[in-house]
Protein backbone atom coordinates (compact mmCIF):
# COMPACT_ATOMS: atom_id res chain seq x y z
CA UNK A 1 0.00 0.00 0.00
CA UNK A 2 2.80 2.34 0.93
CA UNK A 3 4.44 1.55 -2.39
CA UNK A 4 1.28 2.45 -4.23
CA UNK A 5 1.17 5.70 -2.35
CA UNK A 6 4.78 6.53 -3.20
CA UNK A 7 4.10 5.59 -6.81
CA UNK A 8 1.15 7.97 -6.93
CA UNK A 9 3.14 10.69 -5.22
CA UNK A 10 5.86 10.30 -7.81
CA UNK A 11 3.32 10.54 -10.62
CA UNK A 12 1.89 13.71 -9.10
CA UNK A 13 5.32 15.26 -8.72
CA UNK A 14 6.16 14.38 -12.34
CA UNK A 15 2.95 16.07 -13.44
CA UNK A 16 3.84 19.16 -11.46
CA UNK A 17 7.31 19.23 -12.89
CA UNK A 18 5.81 19.18 -16.38
CA UNK A 19 3.29 21.95 -15.95
CA UNK A 20 4.16 25.32 -17.43
CA UNK A 21 7.68 26.71 -17.34
CA UNK A 22 6.98 29.44 -14.80
CA UNK A 23 5.58 32.64 -16.21
CA UNK A 24 7.10 32.50 -19.69
CA UNK A 25 4.79 33.83 -22.38
CA UNK A 26 3.27 31.36 -24.86
CA UNK A 27 5.52 32.55 -27.67
CA UNK A 28 8.76 32.24 -25.71
CA UNK A 29 11.29 29.83 -27.15
CA UNK A 30 12.50 29.26 -23.58
CA UNK A 31 9.47 27.02 -23.05
CA UNK A 32 11.38 24.06 -24.46
CA UNK A 33 12.90 21.79 -21.87
CA UNK A 34 16.12 20.96 -23.69
CA UNK A 35 19.28 20.59 -21.62
CA UNK A 36 22.54 22.30 -22.56
CA UNK A 37 26.07 22.67 -21.23
CA UNK A 38 27.90 25.99 -21.12
CA UNK A 39 31.61 26.76 -21.44
CA UNK A 40 32.11 25.83 -17.78
CA UNK A 41 30.50 22.44 -18.17
CA UNK A 42 27.47 23.64 -16.24
CA UNK A 43 24.13 22.10 -17.20
CA UNK A 44 21.65 24.81 -18.11
CA UNK A 45 18.21 25.21 -19.63
CA UNK A 46 17.33 27.96 -22.08
CA UNK A 47 15.10 29.56 -19.46
CA UNK A 48 18.27 30.48 -17.57
CA UNK A 49 18.79 33.15 -20.25
CA UNK A 50 15.51 34.86 -19.30
CA UNK A 51 15.65 38.27 -17.67
CA UNK A 52 17.85 39.99 -20.21
CA UNK A 53 17.61 40.39 -23.98
CA UNK A 54 19.76 38.04 -26.03
CA UNK A 55 21.64 38.16 -29.32
CA UNK A 56 22.10 34.57 -30.39
CA UNK A 57 23.71 32.73 -33.28
CA UNK A 58 24.70 29.17 -34.06
CA UNK A 59 28.19 28.12 -35.03
CA UNK A 60 30.72 25.32 -34.79
CA UNK A 61 34.09 26.19 -33.44
CA UNK A 62 36.38 24.32 -35.81
CA UNK A 63 34.85 26.35 -38.62
CA UNK A 64 37.29 28.48 -40.55
CA UNK A 65 35.16 30.81 -42.58
CA UNK A 66 31.73 32.07 -41.62
CA UNK A 67 31.88 31.39 -37.88
CA UNK A 68 34.70 33.81 -37.11
CA UNK A 69 32.61 36.24 -39.14
CA UNK A 70 29.59 35.50 -37.00
CA UNK A 71 31.64 36.31 -33.91
CA UNK A 72 32.93 39.47 -35.60
CA UNK A 73 29.36 40.55 -36.38
CA UNK A 74 28.30 39.86 -32.80
CA UNK A 75 31.22 41.93 -31.51
CA UNK A 76 30.26 44.69 -33.91
CA UNK A 77 26.73 44.64 -32.52
CA UNK A 78 28.13 44.81 -28.99
CA UNK A 79 30.22 47.83 -29.98
CA UNK A 80 27.41 49.81 -31.57
CA UNK A 81 24.81 49.13 -28.88
CA UNK A 82 23.69 52.35 -27.22
CA UNK A 83 24.70 52.84 -23.58
CA UNK A 84 21.31 51.90 -22.20
CA UNK A 85 21.59 48.45 -23.82
CA UNK A 86 25.31 47.88 -23.64
CA UNK A 87 25.31 46.12 -20.31
CA UNK A 88 21.95 44.54 -20.85
CA UNK A 89 22.19 42.38 -23.94
CA UNK A 90 23.66 38.88 -23.52
CA UNK A 91 25.56 37.34 -26.41
CA UNK A 92 24.98 33.63 -26.85
CA UNK A 93 26.73 31.31 -29.28
CA UNK A 94 25.12 27.90 -29.65
CA UNK A 95 27.31 25.20 -31.14
CA UNK A 96 25.64 22.50 -33.24
CA UNK A 97 28.79 20.40 -33.00
CA UNK A 98 28.23 19.05 -29.49
CA UNK A 99 30.57 16.17 -30.20
CA UNK A 100 33.68 18.29 -30.74
CA UNK A 101 32.79 21.56 -29.04
CA UNK A 102 33.17 20.39 -25.47
CA UNK A 103 33.09 22.90 -22.59
CA UNK A 104 36.90 22.97 -22.65
CA UNK A 105 36.94 23.81 -26.36
CA UNK A 106 34.27 26.46 -25.88
CA UNK A 107 36.10 28.02 -22.94
CA UNK A 108 39.36 28.17 -24.89
CA UNK A 109 37.59 29.72 -27.85
CA UNK A 110 35.99 32.33 -25.61
CA UNK A 111 39.34 33.22 -24.06
CA UNK A 112 41.09 33.38 -27.40
CA UNK A 113 38.50 35.78 -28.79
CA UNK A 114 38.09 37.83 -25.62
CA UNK A 115 34.46 36.85 -25.13
CA UNK A 116 34.04 37.17 -21.38
CA UNK A 117 31.37 35.53 -19.27
CA UNK A 118 28.67 36.39 -18.27
CA UNK A 119 28.07 38.74 -21.19
CA UNK A 120 29.19 36.06 -23.63
CA UNK A 121 27.88 32.57 -23.21
CA UNK A 122 28.47 29.39 -25.13
CA UNK A 123 26.00 26.53 -25.18
CA UNK A 124 25.99 23.13 -26.78
CA UNK A 125 24.33 19.74 -26.50
CA UNK A 126 25.11 16.25 -27.68
CA UNK A 127 21.40 15.67 -28.16
CA UNK A 128 20.86 16.19 -31.89
CA UNK A 129 17.08 16.44 -31.38
CA UNK A 130 17.45 19.34 -28.96
CA UNK A 131 19.88 21.20 -31.18
CA UNK A 132 17.52 20.72 -34.15
CA UNK A 133 14.64 21.96 -32.04
CA UNK A 134 16.54 25.09 -31.11
CA UNK A 135 17.61 25.74 -34.69
CA UNK A 136 13.99 25.32 -35.82
CA UNK A 137 12.83 27.85 -33.25
CA UNK A 138 15.16 30.53 -34.59
CA UNK A 139 14.80 29.46 -38.26
CA UNK A 140 18.40 28.47 -38.55
CA UNK A 141 19.41 25.63 -40.88
CA UNK A 142 22.46 23.46 -40.63
CA UNK A 143 23.71 20.27 -42.16
CA UNK A 144 26.69 18.09 -41.40
CA UNK A 145 28.82 17.56 -44.47
CA UNK A 146 31.90 15.47 -45.11
CA UNK A 147 35.15 15.89 -43.11
CA UNK A 148 33.44 17.25 -39.99
CA UNK A 149 32.30 20.54 -41.50
CA UNK A 150 28.80 21.97 -41.50
CA UNK A 151 26.82 24.00 -43.96
CA UNK A 152 24.67 26.44 -42.07
CA UNK A 153 22.69 29.65 -42.04
CA UNK A 154 24.42 32.81 -41.04
CA UNK A 155 23.16 35.67 -38.91
CA UNK A 156 22.09 36.92 -35.51
CA UNK A 157 18.70 36.47 -33.85
CA UNK A 158 17.43 39.02 -31.33
CA UNK A 159 15.37 37.73 -28.39
CA UNK A 160 13.62 39.80 -25.76
CA UNK A 161 14.10 39.17 -22.04
CA UNK A 162 11.34 36.53 -22.09
CA UNK A 163 12.83 34.60 -25.01
CA UNK A 164 10.52 35.90 -27.72
CA UNK A 165 12.04 36.33 -31.18
CA UNK A 166 12.21 40.06 -31.97
CA UNK A 167 13.87 39.78 -35.33
CA UNK A 168 16.82 38.30 -37.09
CA UNK A 169 19.49 38.91 -39.67
CA UNK A 170 19.34 35.22 -40.66
CA UNK A 171 18.47 34.98 -44.34
CA UNK A 172 17.29 38.57 -44.25
CA UNK A 173 18.62 41.76 -45.74
CA UNK A 174 19.32 43.16 -42.30
CA UNK A 175 22.48 44.39 -40.64
CA UNK A 176 23.43 44.33 -36.98
CA UNK A 177 22.35 47.93 -36.54
CA UNK A 178 18.82 47.00 -37.58
CA UNK A 179 18.54 44.83 -34.47
CA UNK A 180 19.07 47.78 -32.13
CA UNK A 181 15.61 49.35 -32.52
CA UNK A 182 14.13 45.89 -31.91
CA UNK A 183 15.98 45.60 -28.61
CA UNK A 184 14.91 49.13 -27.70
CA UNK A 185 11.23 48.51 -28.34
CA UNK A 186 10.99 45.46 -26.09
Amino acid sequence: MLKVFIFLLLQVSICFAETGPGDLPGDSIYQVKSKWVDQFGKKVELSSLAGKPVAVSMIYLSCKFSCPMTVAHMKELEKILPDNLKNDVQFVLVSFDGKNDTPTVMKKYAEKHGLAFPKWRFLTSKNEQDVREFSSLIDFKYKKIANGDFEHSFGIVALDSHGRVLGSTVGAAMAEKDLIPLFEKK
Partner: protein, 242 residues
Amino acid sequence: MRTIVAFLLILIHCAATADQVNIKGGVFTPLYGSAKKPVKVDSFSMDVAPVTNAEFLKFVNSHPEWSKPSVSPLFAEAEYLHHWSSPTELGPSAIPDGPVVNVSWFAAKAFCVSKGMRLPTVNEWEYVASRPIPGADVRKVILDWYSVPTPDVLPSVKSGLKNSSGVISLHGLIWEWTLDFNSAMVTGESRADGSLDKSLFCGAGSASAADKSDYAAFLRFGLRSSLKANYTVNNLGFRCVK
Protein backbone atom coordinates in the same frame (compact mmCIF):
# COMPACT_ATOMS: atom_id res chain seq x y z
CA MET B 1 0.95 -6.74 -5.46
CA ARG B 2 -0.99 -4.04 -7.20
CA THR B 3 2.23 -2.24 -8.07
CA ILE B 4 3.55 -5.43 -9.65
CA VAL B 5 0.40 -5.75 -11.72
CA ALA B 6 0.66 -2.10 -12.73
CA PHE B 7 4.29 -2.56 -13.65
CA LEU B 8 3.50 -5.66 -15.70
CA LEU B 9 0.71 -3.82 -17.46
CA ILE B 10 3.12 -1.06 -18.38
CA LEU B 11 5.60 -3.63 -19.66
CA ILE B 12 2.98 -5.39 -21.76
CA HIS B 13 1.80 -2.04 -23.06
CA CYS B 14 5.33 -1.07 -24.08
CA ALA B 15 5.96 -4.38 -25.78
CA ALA B 16 2.73 -4.12 -27.72
CA THR B 17 3.48 -0.65 -29.04
CA ALA B 18 7.05 -1.49 -29.99
CA ASP B 19 6.02 -2.48 -33.48
CA GLN B 20 9.35 -1.95 -35.13
CA VAL B 21 11.71 -3.66 -37.53
CA ASN B 22 15.47 -3.68 -37.36
CA ILE B 23 17.20 -1.95 -40.22
CA LYS B 24 20.73 -3.10 -40.76
CA GLY B 25 23.12 -0.24 -41.40
CA GLY B 26 24.95 0.20 -44.66
CA VAL B 27 26.04 2.61 -47.31
CA PHE B 28 23.76 4.17 -49.88
CA THR B 29 23.71 7.09 -52.27
CA PRO B 30 20.89 9.49 -51.49
CA LEU B 31 18.68 10.19 -54.46
CA TYR B 32 18.22 13.81 -53.59
CA GLY B 33 20.44 16.85 -53.57
CA SER B 34 23.46 17.61 -55.63
CA ALA B 35 26.03 15.58 -53.70
CA LYS B 36 26.00 12.17 -55.33
CA LYS B 37 28.21 10.74 -52.66
CA PRO B 38 27.49 7.53 -50.78
CA VAL B 39 26.63 8.05 -47.11
CA LYS B 40 26.90 5.60 -44.23
CA VAL B 41 23.83 4.81 -42.19
CA ASP B 42 24.15 3.02 -38.83
CA SER B 43 21.78 0.25 -37.80
CA PHE B 44 18.53 1.36 -36.19
CA SER B 45 14.98 0.15 -35.74
CA MET B 46 12.01 1.82 -37.42
CA ASP B 47 8.27 1.82 -36.80
CA VAL B 48 6.64 -0.62 -39.20
CA ALA B 49 3.89 1.90 -39.93
CA PRO B 50 3.30 5.64 -39.48
CA VAL B 51 1.90 6.80 -36.12
CA THR B 52 -1.90 6.56 -36.08
CA ASN B 53 -4.62 8.94 -34.93
CA ALA B 54 -5.43 6.59 -32.03
CA GLU B 55 -1.79 6.51 -30.87
CA PHE B 56 -1.51 10.26 -31.09
CA LEU B 57 -4.77 10.74 -29.20
CA LYS B 58 -3.40 8.61 -26.38
CA PHE B 59 -0.29 10.77 -26.35
CA VAL B 60 -2.34 13.99 -26.25
CA ASN B 61 -4.41 12.60 -23.37
CA SER B 62 -1.30 11.85 -21.34
CA HIS B 63 0.54 15.03 -22.44
CA PRO B 64 -2.14 17.74 -22.30
CA GLU B 65 0.41 20.40 -23.23
CA TRP B 66 0.12 18.92 -26.74
CA SER B 67 -3.66 19.20 -26.92
CA LYS B 68 -4.96 21.65 -29.46
CA PRO B 69 -6.16 24.29 -26.98
CA SER B 70 -2.90 24.36 -24.99
CA VAL B 71 -0.25 24.14 -27.67
CA SER B 72 1.60 27.39 -28.39
CA PRO B 73 1.49 28.70 -31.99
CA LEU B 74 5.25 28.60 -31.75
CA PHE B 75 5.07 24.78 -31.73
CA ALA B 76 2.06 24.14 -33.98
CA GLU B 77 0.01 26.22 -36.41
CA ALA B 78 -3.72 26.80 -35.99
CA GLU B 79 -4.48 23.86 -38.32
CA TYR B 80 -2.92 21.46 -35.80
CA LEU B 81 -5.03 18.24 -35.64
CA HIS B 82 -7.88 20.01 -37.38
CA HIS B 83 -9.10 16.75 -38.97
CA TRP B 84 -10.11 15.57 -35.49
CA SER B 85 -13.63 16.45 -34.44
CA SER B 86 -12.47 17.90 -31.10
CA PRO B 87 -9.22 18.17 -29.13
CA THR B 88 -9.89 14.77 -27.58
CA GLU B 89 -12.12 13.04 -30.17
CA LEU B 90 -11.15 11.67 -33.55
CA GLY B 91 -14.52 11.86 -35.30
CA PRO B 92 -15.46 10.76 -38.84
CA SER B 93 -12.51 12.36 -40.67
CA ALA B 94 -9.87 10.58 -38.61
CA ILE B 95 -10.17 6.81 -38.40
CA PRO B 96 -8.28 5.37 -35.38
CA ASP B 97 -5.75 3.41 -37.43
CA GLY B 98 -5.35 6.10 -40.06
CA PRO B 99 -2.09 8.04 -40.02
CA VAL B 100 -2.06 11.12 -37.81
CA VAL B 101 -1.47 14.19 -39.97
CA ASN B 102 -1.71 17.94 -39.33
CA VAL B 103 1.04 17.52 -36.75
CA SER B 104 4.01 19.85 -36.45
CA TRP B 105 7.63 18.73 -36.25
CA PHE B 106 7.69 19.76 -32.59
CA ALA B 107 4.66 17.59 -31.83
CA ALA B 108 6.06 14.64 -33.78
CA LYS B 109 9.39 14.95 -31.98
CA ALA B 110 7.65 15.14 -28.58
CA PHE B 111 5.61 12.03 -29.39
CA CYS B 112 8.73 10.03 -30.30
CA VAL B 113 10.63 11.30 -27.24
CA SER B 114 7.72 10.21 -25.02
CA LYS B 115 8.29 6.66 -26.32
CA GLY B 116 12.05 6.85 -25.81
CA MET B 117 12.52 7.23 -29.56
CA ARG B 118 13.20 9.96 -32.10
CA LEU B 119 12.34 10.97 -35.65
CA PRO B 120 14.41 9.35 -38.41
CA THR B 121 17.07 11.46 -40.11
CA VAL B 122 16.62 12.23 -43.80
CA ASN B 123 19.36 9.73 -44.60
CA GLU B 124 17.76 6.97 -42.49
CA TRP B 125 14.36 7.58 -44.03
CA GLU B 126 15.69 7.67 -47.58
CA TYR B 127 17.84 4.61 -46.93
CA VAL B 128 14.80 2.53 -45.99
CA ALA B 129 12.67 4.18 -48.68
CA SER B 130 15.14 3.10 -51.33
CA ARG B 131 14.39 -0.58 -50.67
CA PRO B 132 12.29 -2.39 -53.25
CA ILE B 133 8.65 -3.27 -52.70
CA PRO B 134 8.14 -6.93 -53.63
CA GLY B 135 5.65 -7.25 -56.46
CA ALA B 136 5.45 -3.54 -57.17
CA ASP B 137 7.41 -0.88 -59.00
CA VAL B 138 8.37 1.72 -56.37
CA ARG B 139 8.55 4.49 -58.94
CA LYS B 140 5.09 3.74 -60.22
CA VAL B 141 3.68 3.58 -56.68
CA ILE B 142 5.11 6.99 -55.87
CA LEU B 143 4.20 8.71 -59.08
CA ASP B 144 0.68 7.28 -59.01
CA TRP B 145 0.33 8.65 -55.50
CA TYR B 146 1.63 12.10 -56.48
CA SER B 147 -1.00 12.26 -59.19
CA VAL B 148 -3.94 11.59 -56.86
CA PRO B 149 -5.25 14.26 -54.46
CA THR B 150 -5.18 13.45 -50.73
CA PRO B 151 -8.45 11.69 -49.83
CA ASP B 152 -10.72 13.38 -47.27
CA VAL B 153 -10.27 10.45 -44.91
CA LEU B 154 -6.89 8.75 -44.97
CA PRO B 155 -7.07 4.93 -44.87
CA SER B 156 -5.40 2.63 -42.33
CA VAL B 157 -1.61 2.85 -41.99
CA LYS B 158 -1.54 -0.87 -42.69
CA SER B 159 -3.23 -0.39 -46.07
CA GLY B 160 0.00 0.56 -47.80
CA LEU B 161 2.61 -1.62 -49.45
CA LYS B 162 5.29 -3.39 -47.45
CA ASN B 163 8.87 -3.00 -48.67
CA SER B 164 11.62 -5.60 -48.44
CA SER B 165 12.63 -4.31 -44.99
CA GLY B 166 9.14 -5.03 -43.68
CA VAL B 167 8.25 -1.34 -43.44
CA ILE B 168 4.72 -0.40 -44.50
CA SER B 169 3.35 2.69 -46.24
CA LEU B 170 6.59 4.60 -46.72
CA HIS B 171 5.29 5.54 -50.12
CA GLY B 172 1.78 6.15 -51.27
CA LEU B 173 0.01 7.25 -48.08
CA ILE B 174 1.48 10.44 -46.57
CA TRP B 175 4.64 12.55 -46.40
CA GLU B 176 6.67 12.05 -43.23
CA TRP B 177 8.64 14.39 -40.96
CA THR B 178 12.35 13.79 -40.51
CA LEU B 179 14.57 14.88 -37.64
CA ASP B 180 16.80 17.07 -39.77
CA PHE B 181 14.26 18.27 -42.34
CA ASN B 182 15.74 21.75 -41.90
CA SER B 183 19.17 20.72 -43.07
CA ALA B 184 18.35 21.55 -46.68
CA MET B 185 20.28 24.59 -47.73
CA VAL B 186 17.96 26.26 -50.15
CA THR B 187 17.13 29.71 -48.91
CA GLY B 188 20.20 31.45 -50.22
CA GLU B 189 21.59 32.16 -46.81
CA SER B 190 24.28 29.58 -46.36
CA ARG B 191 27.84 29.25 -47.39
CA ALA B 192 26.87 26.69 -50.02
CA ASP B 193 24.62 29.36 -51.36
CA GLY B 194 21.79 28.60 -53.72
CA SER B 195 18.22 29.63 -54.30
CA LEU B 196 15.45 27.07 -54.21
CA ASP B 197 15.27 27.12 -57.99
CA LYS B 198 18.98 26.64 -58.35
CA SER B 199 18.99 23.76 -55.87
CA LEU B 200 16.12 22.12 -57.65
CA PHE B 201 17.85 22.64 -60.93
CA CYS B 202 21.18 21.30 -59.67
CA GLY B 203 19.60 18.27 -58.11
CA ALA B 204 17.50 17.51 -61.12
CA GLY B 205 20.52 18.05 -63.31
CA SER B 206 22.65 15.68 -61.30
CA ALA B 207 20.01 12.99 -61.40
CA SER B 208 19.46 11.06 -64.53
CA ALA B 209 16.52 12.71 -66.23
CA ALA B 210 15.00 9.40 -67.21
CA ASP B 211 14.97 8.17 -63.63
CA LYS B 212 11.53 8.93 -62.30
CA SER B 213 12.31 7.74 -58.79
CA ASP B 214 14.97 10.44 -58.59
CA TYR B 215 12.27 12.90 -59.47
CA ALA B 216 10.08 11.52 -56.70
CA ALA B 217 12.86 11.75 -54.13
CA PHE B 218 13.50 15.23 -55.33
CA LEU B 219 9.93 16.25 -54.61
CA ARG B 220 10.46 15.01 -51.03
CA PHE B 221 13.62 17.10 -50.81
CA GLY B 222 11.72 20.12 -52.10
CA LEU B 223 8.88 19.62 -49.64
CA ARG B 224 11.25 19.27 -46.70
CA SER B 225 13.02 22.48 -47.53
CA SER B 226 9.72 24.34 -47.74
CA LEU B 227 8.60 23.28 -44.26
CA LYS B 228 8.95 25.07 -40.97
CA ALA B 229 8.87 23.15 -37.74
CA ASN B 230 5.49 24.50 -36.61
CA TYR B 231 3.78 23.80 -39.95
CA THR B 232 0.90 21.36 -40.05
CA VAL B 233 -0.07 19.79 -43.36
CA ASN B 234 -3.03 17.55 -44.11
CA ASN B 235 -0.92 14.77 -45.62
CA LEU B 236 2.20 15.07 -43.47
CA GLY B 237 2.64 12.61 -40.60
CA PHE B 238 5.58 10.73 -39.12
CA ARG B 239 6.99 7.53 -37.69
CA CYS B 240 9.64 7.04 -35.00
CA VAL B 241 12.96 5.22 -34.93
CA LYS B 242 15.32 4.10 -32.23
